[in-house]
C-alpha cells in the first residue's frame, strides 16, 4: 500500500478526530496511548505527532466529545485520561457515515479513470 500521507503531521487532514473517537470507544486512554494505538492499528503507516494530537484533543474537549480525568499510567505517573462522551459517540457515527460516502466516492472515481 502506497504511503498516502502527504501532510507533514502524517495524517490526512480532518480525519484525526474520527480516529481518536474510534480508539476511545474501547475505553479511556491518555494522550500517548491514543497516538500509539492509532500508529499500531494503522500498521505503523499513520504517525500522530504531538503538534497535532494535543491541539485536536483541546478542540474535542471544547466540543464536549471527550472529557479528561486524572488516572495513573502504566509507569505509575499521574496523567490525564481522555474518555468518550455520548456526544462524542454521536459525532463518531456521523463522521463515519460521512467518511464512508467520501471514500466510496473517491474509489468510484479511481476505478473509472
Amino acid at each position: 500500500m502506497p504511503n498516502i500521507v502527504t501532510h507533514k503531521y502524517g495524517m490526512p487532514s480532518g480525519t484525526l478526530p474520527m480516529l481518536i473517537l474510534h480508539v476511545l470507544q474501547s475505553g479511556a486512554l491518555h494522550g500517548y496511548a491514543i497516538a500509539h494505538r492509532i500508529h499500531v492499528l494503522s500498521s505503523e503507516v499513520l504517525t500522530v505527532e504531538e503538534g497535532l494530537l494535543y491541539p485536536t484533543l483541546q478542540k474535542m474537549l471544547l466540543k464536549g466529545w471527550v472529557t479528561a480525568k486524572w488516572g495513573t499510567s502504566e509507569t505509575n505517573r499521574k496523567v490525564r485520561f481522555y474518555q468518550l462522551t455520548k456526544a462524542g459517540l454521536e459525532q463518531l457515527k456521523s463522521e463515519l457515515s460521512g467518511f464512508d460516502r467520501v471514500t466510496q466516492g473517491i474509489l468510484d472515481v479511481l476505478r473509472t479513470a
Binding site: G31, Y32, E49, E50, L53, Y54, P55, Q58, L62, G64
Partner: protein, 837 residues
C-alpha cells in the same frame, strides 16, 4: 452545557488547564523517550499551539501588549503627558458640546412618560404660529381621542406684586399642568383640576422656589398668605420643587390657573376669542397612540373647526407635532446651529489628532531600533502593528477619561453659572459615554493608524505623512481662527456701532390694551392721552407708536422672492414720528402724513435689492390686488433681527384698527433711570387696571449682544487652543528635524554655508505643508462661513479685516514655532557635532 460555556470555563481556569496540558505533553515525551523515539519540537511552542484551540490567546496577547504599552509610556512621561492632554482637549471639547446638546434635546424630562408629551403648533404651507387661540385649544383637547390630556400655557408680561417697581415673570397654565407632569409641592399644593379648574374657583397662585426664597425668605408660612398681584388679591397655595421640570423649559416665578386669567386682566377676552392666538399647546398621547395618529386626528378636527369657525383656521391649516419630552423642542434653525457647532468642535479634534499623529511619527524614528529588534527576533508586521495600535488605544483611553472629566467640569460650571433647571446634571449619561467611546475610537484611527502602518512597514523616514498632518493642523486652526475672528469682529461691531437706530435712552411702553378688552377706538383715546401726558414730561424728546417694537415679544417676517433671490422681509406698522423717535435717518422722500393711503416706507437695502440703481420713490409694492406707493426710504435698522444684516424692512402707517396692539416708543434726551416710575404713574391715572410693560431698549440690546459675545469668546478660546496645539506640534517637529540633521548642518556650516542657506535647507520642507494648509483653511472658511451671515451683525463673512487678523496671528505664531527651535541649529557646537560617532 454548550461549547460557549465550556470556552468561558477555559478562560477562567486557563492557568490550571495549561499546567495539565503541560503534564500531558511531558508524559508523552517521557514515554516516547523510553521507547527510543525522540521528539525535538519546541515544547513551549507546541503547547501554545494547542492552547490556541481554546480561543483565548488574544486575551493573553492583549495583556502582554498592554503591559508593554504601559512600560513604554512610563519610559517617556513627557510624551505621554503631552499626548494625553492634547487628546483630552480634542475629545473634551466635543464631549462638552455633545453633553450640552444631550441636556437640551435628548435627555427626557424627569416626568412620567416623557415620550408621550407632544408640542402642538399651528402650521400651513405659508404660515406657522407657535401659539393658538384658547377656544381652539379647548376644542382640540375635548375632541382628540389620541390625546389623554391637553395642556395650555399663556405667557403674559411680568405682573406686579404689591407695589413693586420691577415686575415678576408669570405664566397662566391649565390646572392639569402639574398633575400631568407629576409635580409634587414641597410645601402646600400645586394647581389641580379639581380645585382650580373653574373661573369661579377662589384665585390662587403657585410660586417658584426661587421667588419663595427671595421674597418670602423661605418661610413655609407663606402658604395661605394673600398678596396682591396687579392689585388683585390672590392666595399663595404652594411652592414648586427646587428642581422643577417644566414643558419647553419655561421657568416663570408665578404660576396661575388659566381659567382665572380674566380676573387678573380685567376685560380680557383671550379665553373666548377664536382670533386671538396666544396659548402654547402641549398634549399627552393616550396609551398606545403614536404622534402620527394624533396628527391625523387633529387634521380632521382642524377641518371641523374650520367648518364651525371659518375665521379661526387658515387655508390648509394642520397641527404640527414635535416631541415635547425634552428641555427644548428642537426647531429646524436650531439644527443649523448644532451643525455649525459640531463642525467647529470636530475641527479642533482633527487638529488635536493630526498633532498627535505627527508627534507619534516623529517618535517612531526614535523607536526605530526597538521596533527593529522586535522584528528581528520574530515578530511579524501584524504583531508590531497590533502592539502599536494597543499603545494608541491606551493613550486614547487616558485622553478620553481626562476629556470626559474636563467636559463634566465645564458642564458643571455652565449649569451653575446659568439659570438652568436644577434637574439637569453634569455627570455624563449613557448617551454621552457612548458618544465619548465612539469619538475616541475615531480619533484613535485618525492619530494612531497612519504612524502604526508606517512603522510596521519600517518606513519611519518618509516625510509625506508628517507633512500632510502638519498641513491638516494648519488648515484646521486657520478655519477656527477665521471664524473666531469674524465673531469677535461682529461683537465689536455690535457693541460699538449703532444698529441703524439709537438704542440708548429709548423706552417702550407696552400696555397690551387688547388683552384688557379695549376696542380700537378706546385704545386710540387711551394712547392719544398717554402721548400728550408723556410729551409733557421733562426730558422726553419724541413719542410715537409702533405695532412691533424693537426687540419685542413678537416678530413678524416673511420670505419674499426679490429679483430671483429669497429675501427676509420684516414688516412693521408705525406712526409718522416713529423714524424720528428711533433716530432712523430718512434717506429719501418723506415719512407718513395723516391721511396717507396705500403708501409705504422701505429700508435702504430693500430699495437696493428691489430696484437696483433706480429711484425707488413712487414705485409700487404689493401683490397686485393692493399696491402701495413708496414715499420714503429709511436707513437700515434691523429692529427685530439685530444680527442679520441680510434682513430688510418695510413700514406701513399704523391703522386705526391696530391701536389695541400698539406700543408707545419714547425717546429721552437725558437719562432714563427715573422714567419708568413716571410712566407708571401716568398709566395709573389713565386706567389703574392696566399694567403696561415698560422696557429699556438698551438693556434688551445688551442682552441680545451677550449671546454673540459668549459665542465669540468660546470660539476664540477654541481657536487659540487649536493654534497653540499646532504651534507646539510645529515646535516639536522642527526641533526633531534639527536634531536629526545635526551632522548635515555642521558639515554645511564648516563648508561655508551662510546662516540663511542652512535655514533654507532645514525649513524648506515645512514651507509647502504650511502654505497649503493656510490656503485650504482660507478657502474652507470663506466657503463655509456663509451659514454664519445671519449672526454677524452686518459684518460680511468675507470681511477682509477679520481674515487679515486671523492670518496675521496664525503666521506670527507659526513663524515663531518654526524659527525658535531652528535657531538652535545655528548655534551648534560644530566640533562636537562632527566628533560625534
Amino acid at each position: 452545557m454548550n461549547e460557549f460555556f465550556r470556552r468561558l470555563i477555559y478562560l477562567v481556569s486557563r492557568r490550571r488547564l495549561d499546567r495539565e496540558l503541560e503534564s500531558d505533553m511531558q508524559f508523552h515525551r517521557e514515554i516516547a523517550a523510553r521507547e527510543g523515539r525522540n521528539n525535538f519540537g519546541n515544547m513551549l511552542q507546541l503547547r501554545e499551539e494547542a492552547r490556541e484551540a481554546w480561543g483565548w490567546t488574544w486575551i493573553d496577547r492583549l495583556g502582554q501588549d498592554l503591559r508593554y504599552g504601559i512600560r513604554v509610556m512610563a519610559h517617556s512621561p513627557g510624551f505621554t503627558l503631552v499626548a494625553v492632554m492634547v487628546l483630552a482637549i480634542g475629545i473634551g471639547v466635543n464631549v462638552a458640546a455633545f453633553g450640552l446638546f444631550d441636556m437640551v434635546a435628548l435627555q427626557p424630562l424627569p416626568v412620567p412618560h416623557p415620550e408621550r408629551l407632544l408640542r402642538l403648533e399651528r402650521a400651513s404651507p405659508n404660515s406657522y404660529s407657535s401659539e393658538m387661540a384658547y377656544p381652539s385649544f379647548l376644542f382640540y383637547r375635548d375632541h382628540a381621542r389620541t390625546l389623554s390630556a391637553g395642556m395650555a400655557v399663556l405667557g403674559v408680561p411680568p405682573m406686579q406684586i404689591e407695589s413693586d417697581l420691577q415686575g415678576t415673570s408669570t405664566s397662566f397654565v391649565t390646572a392639569n399642568y402639574f398633575s400631568e407632569l407629576g409635580t409634587r409641592a414641597p410645601y402646600g399644593r400645586m394647581l389641580n383640576p379639581g380645585l382650580d379648574g373653574s373661573p369661579s374657583s377662589p384665585p390662587v397662585m403657585v410660586i417658584s422656589y426661587g421667588l419663595w426664597q427671595r421674597r418670602f425668605g423661605g418661610d413655609p408660612a407663606a402658604i395661605g398668605r394673600t398678596i396682591h398681584l396687579n392689585n388683585k388679591p390672590v392666595t399663595v397655595v404652594g411652592i414648586t420643587p427646587y428642581s422643577l421640570a417644566t414643558l419647553g423649559g419655561q421657568s416663570p416665578d408665578i404660576w396661575l390657573p388659566i381659567t382665572q386669567q380674566a380676573y387678573f386682566i380685567e376685560g380680557s377676552n383671550v379665553l373666548t376669542d377664536f382670533d386671538n392666538s396666544s396659548v402654547r399647546m402641549w398634549g399627552r398621547l393616550a396609551a398606545g397612540m403614536t404622534a402620527k395618529a394624533a396628527e391625523q386626528e387633529l387634521r380632521i378636527l382642524t377641518n371641523e373647526l374650520h367648518r364651525q369657525h371659518p375665521a379661526a383656521v387658515w387655508d390648509n391649516e394642520f397641527i404640527k407635532s414635535s416631541p415635547g419630552g425634552h428641555l427644548q423642542v428642537m426647531q429646524r434653525e436650531m439644527y443649523q446651529v448644532v451643525m455649525t457647532v459640531s463642525v467647529l468642535t470636530l475641527l479642533i479634534l482633527a487638529v488635536a489628532c493630526a498633532n498627535l499623529g505627527a508627534l507619534m511619527l516623529a517618535r517612531a524614528v526614535q523607536r526605530e531600533r526597538e521596533i527593529g529588534i522586535r522584528m528581528a527576533i520574530g515578530a511579524n508586521a501584524a504583531r508590531v502593528l497590533r502592539q502599536l495600535c494597543t499603545e494608541s488605544m491606551l493613550l486614547a483611553a487616558l485622553g478620553a477619561i481626562t476629556g470626559l472629566l474636563l467636559a463634566s467640569a465645564v458642564l458643571k460650571i455652565v449649569l451653575t453659572q446659568s439659570d438652568a433647571p436644577k434637574w439637569l446634571s453634569a455627570s455624563p449619561d449613557l448617551r454621552v459615554l457612548l458618544f465619548t467611546a465612539a469619538i475616541t475610537f475615531l480619533s484613535t484611527l485618525f492619530f494612531g493608524l497612519t504612524p502604526a502602518l508606517q512603522i510596521a512597514r519600517q518606513r519611519q523616514h518618509k516625510t509625506t505623512a508628517r507633512h500632510i498632518l502638519v498641513g491638516a493642523q494648519v488648515a484646521g486652526s486657520c478655519v477656527l481662527l477665521i471664524v473666531a475672528s469674524l465673531l469677535v469682529r461682529a461683537t465689536h461691531h455690535a457693541l460699538f456701532t449703532e444698529p441703524g437706530f439709537g438704542y440708548e435712552r429709548l423706552v417702550s411702553i407696552d400696555a397690551q390694551l387688547g388683552q384688557y378688552g379695549y376696542s380700537a377706538n378706546a385704545a386710540k383715546v387711551y394712547l392719544d392721552e398717554m402721548e400728550v401726558r408723556l410729551t409733557a414730561v421733562p426730558g422726553v424728546r419724541s413719542v410715537s407708536l409702533v405695532l412691533l417694537p424693537p426687540l419685542g415679544h413678537s416678530v413678524s417676517r416673511e420670505t419674499r422672492n426679490v429679483n430671483g433671490e429669497s429675501v427676509m422681509v420684516y414688516p412693521n406698522w408705525v406712526s409718522p414720528e416713529f423714524f424720528q423717535t428711533m433716530q432712523i435717518p430718512m434717506l429719501l422722500g418723506r415719512t407718513f402724513q395723516s391721511g396717507d393711503r396705500n403708501v409705504v416706507v422701505v429700508s435702504q437695502s430693500f430699495a437696493r435689492r428691489q430696484w437696483p440703481r433706480q429711484n425707488p420713490l413712487g414705485k409700487l409694492v404689493g401683490d397686485g390686488k393692493v399696491s402701495d406707493m413708496v414715499v420714503g426710504v429709511a436707513g437700515d435698522a434691523h429692529l427685530n433681527a439685530l444680527s442679520n444684516d441680510d434682513a430688510v424692512e418695510q413700514y406701513w402707517p399704523i391703522a386705526q384698527d391696530q391701536m389695541a396692539g400698539a406700543v408707545v416708543m419714547v425717546r429721552m434726551s437725558g437719562e432714563v433711570e427715573g422714567f419708568p416710575s413716571v410712566a407708571k404713574s401716568i398709566s395709573e391715572t389713565l386706567n389703574p387696571k392696566v399694567f403696561p410693560e415698560i422696557r429699556q431698549i438698551r438693556a434688551l440690546y445688551a442682552e441680545n449682544v451677550r449671546g454673540i459675545e459668549m459665542a465669540a469668546g468660546a470660539v476664540t478660546l477654541i481657536g487659540v487652543v487649536a493654534l497653540v496645539l499646532a504651534g507646539v506640534g510645529l515646535i516639536g517637529l522642527v526641533s526633531f528635524t534639527v536634531s536629526q540633521k545635526t551632522k548635515e548642518i555642521a558639515i554645511r556650516t564648516v563648508l561655508g554655508a551662510s546662516r540663511s542657506q542652512v535655514l533654507k535647507v532645514l525649513l524648506g520642507q515645512f514651507s509647502w505643508p504650511v502654505g497649503l494648509g493656510l490656503l485650504i483653511g482660507v478657502v474652507a472658511a470663506s466657503a463655509s462661513s456663509q451659514v454664519l451671515r445671519q449672526t454677524l451683525y452686518g459684518i460680511s463673512n468675507l470681511d477682509p479685516i477679520a481674515y487679515a487678523l486671523a492670518l496675521g496671528f496664525l503666521l506670527v505664531t507659526l513663524a515663531a514655532a518654526i524659527l525658535l527651535p531652528a535657531r538652535r541649529a545655528l548655534q551648534l557646537n560644530l566640533a562636537k557635532a562632527l566628533h560625534y560617532e
